[in-house]
């Protein structure tokens, strides 16, 4: 059986994302505070907290958990992040529909579907100093590693590394969309808050997948 995990256990990925956002609430707000208005952590924690209430700690499958998260973010959390992440997770949920097991290509397909939607909604391009500067290289790294025939676990490491590097890369960029874009050159030197949360979310998912794969092998 190819490396992967049962989709019915996939709710763990959403649980891990909720935990990551809650634990990093103040850090995200501080990053946002440098060139934004400092509420990114608050709004994200509110959205992910509402999702946790809806899921109510019951074990749920991947599709249902992602759909719940997407709906809450889209319908109940405003700002820019509500529609962007909301659309992202709803598309991931759609791509997870009907999956029994989630292996490398399946997870890649989910991320690619979410990425396509987020690009359509937000209209930003890589290099604009947004979460795309994390998501685009992270998804490419996963795709590249799987193409080279690397095992899912190794491919996830490649994703993590690209995600972390993507986040760091936003430090030297000049914001071209969103609130920080009004600063122009003065946004250089500070990382982007959306990129920070995107990096956290991706790595929370890959951590979850690694744990599920360990159980799957055991």
């Amino acid at each position: 059986m190819a490396a992967g995990f049962p989709a019915r256990d996939g709710g763990l990925l959403v649980d891990r994302m909720i935990r990551a956002i809650r634990e990093n609430r103040d850090r995200l707000s501080a990053i946002d505070g440098a060139i934004g208005d400092g509420d990114h952590g608050i709004n994200m924690a509110k959205g992910f907290g509402l999702c946790a209430e809806r899921l109510a700690g019951e074990p749920r499958g991947l599709e249902e958990s992602l759909r719940t998260l997407g709906r809450v973010l889209l319908m109940e959390i405003g700002g820019s992040m509500g529609p962007l992440y909301g659309s992202f997770f709803l598309e991931m949920a759609k791509a997870a529909r009907g999956l029994d097991r989630v292996d490398g290509p399946a997870f890649l397909g989910m991320l690619q579907a979410g990425l396509a939607k987020i690009r359509a909604v937000g209209g930003a391009e890589p290099g604009d100093k947004t979460l795309l500067d994390v998501l685009v290289p992270a998804v490419s790294a996963l795709a590249g590693a799987l193409d080279r025939g690397e095992p899912f676990g190794d491919a996830l490491e490649a994703l993590d590394a690209a995600s972390a590097a993507g986040f760091e890369s936003t430090r030297d960029m000049v914001a071209r969309v969103g609130r920080a874009s009004r600063l122009g050159e003065r946004s250089r030197g500070f990382p982007d808050a959306g990129a920070a949360s995107c990096d956290l979310l991706l790595r929370a998912m890959t951590d979850g997948i690694r744990d599920l794969m360990k159980e799957d092998r055991a």
Binding site: D37, S80, G82, G178, R179
Partner: protein, 342 residues
Amino acid sequence: MQRIVNDPDRVVEEMLAGFVRAHPDLVEPTSNPRVLKARGVPVPGKVGIVTGGGSGHKPAFIGYLGRNLVDAVAVGEIFSSPTAQAFYDAIRVADSGQGVVCLYGNYAGDNMNVRMARDMAEEDGIRVLAVVADDDAASAPPDQRSRRRGVAGEVLMWKVAGALAARGASLEEVAAVAQQTVDRTRSVGIGLTPCTIPAVGRPNFTIESGTMEVGIGHHGEPGIRVEPLASADAMADAMLDLLLPDGDFRAGDRVAVLVSGLGATPIMELYILFRRVAERLDGAGISLHRSYVGNYFTSLEMMGVTLTLLKLDDTLADLLDDEAESVGLRQFRRGSPGAGEG
């Protein structure tokens, strides 16, 4: 944090509850707790006026719900766009069948959520036109107007468009006059102290004591320069020196002036600053048709001020002079018995 709050995460909910109880003569709740409407909305035969934005700008946005003004408002978290659902619900409650104009400020989140809400409303067969305020002259160079933020000039856009809608104009006409108003409006702000989002608990930016930030945004977005704190007259001069050329205001023009505090500024000081603005306009041969001085569009408890100029023509002046009644703005026709401004 010296503030009057309970749970910092519930300030918007508790503010709305208080607002609805305080002003039942003007506003009503709707089935969406993040949407308020003016009493009696939808008004049969009238184009609906919708706005919305983050909280923390009182009396904007809900303070402009009322007669000859705004019909429905989508309410966001502090400094954060309302959801697409809230904008959509606001559009639905404001529509009498004549369509709805959505008049809001140029911010990435609001643009995204309004676009999604328009798509949803159009699927229901509601015609929606949007006009985006971009009056903040300090937020981008003149050749990049699409990047400029919307600030206190939004109040004048609601006033003029709300008046025309109340006179029975069509959807296209109301949107056109709103756009014309925005195109002729320029604003700039000066910040003296930062502001604190209650749930954050501390200011997320600093303005050193003894300095002021010229061109500061409504959420503390950095301005174009930090200078030693100057006199009220020097502040007025700095703002006019930026606005007059940017908006091509010149001798013979007739303008409306709006001076708004940013939340913590004594109203007295707004008048001190306004005094100089009027003096400068007189000197430049620009006539002052109507003035608004007070807290019209604030940023929590920021100390500071915004100055907005609108270049009028006869049509805009007449619409601006129409009566209006809301929490944030009450005015009566000049020359009518007992006329006066609140």
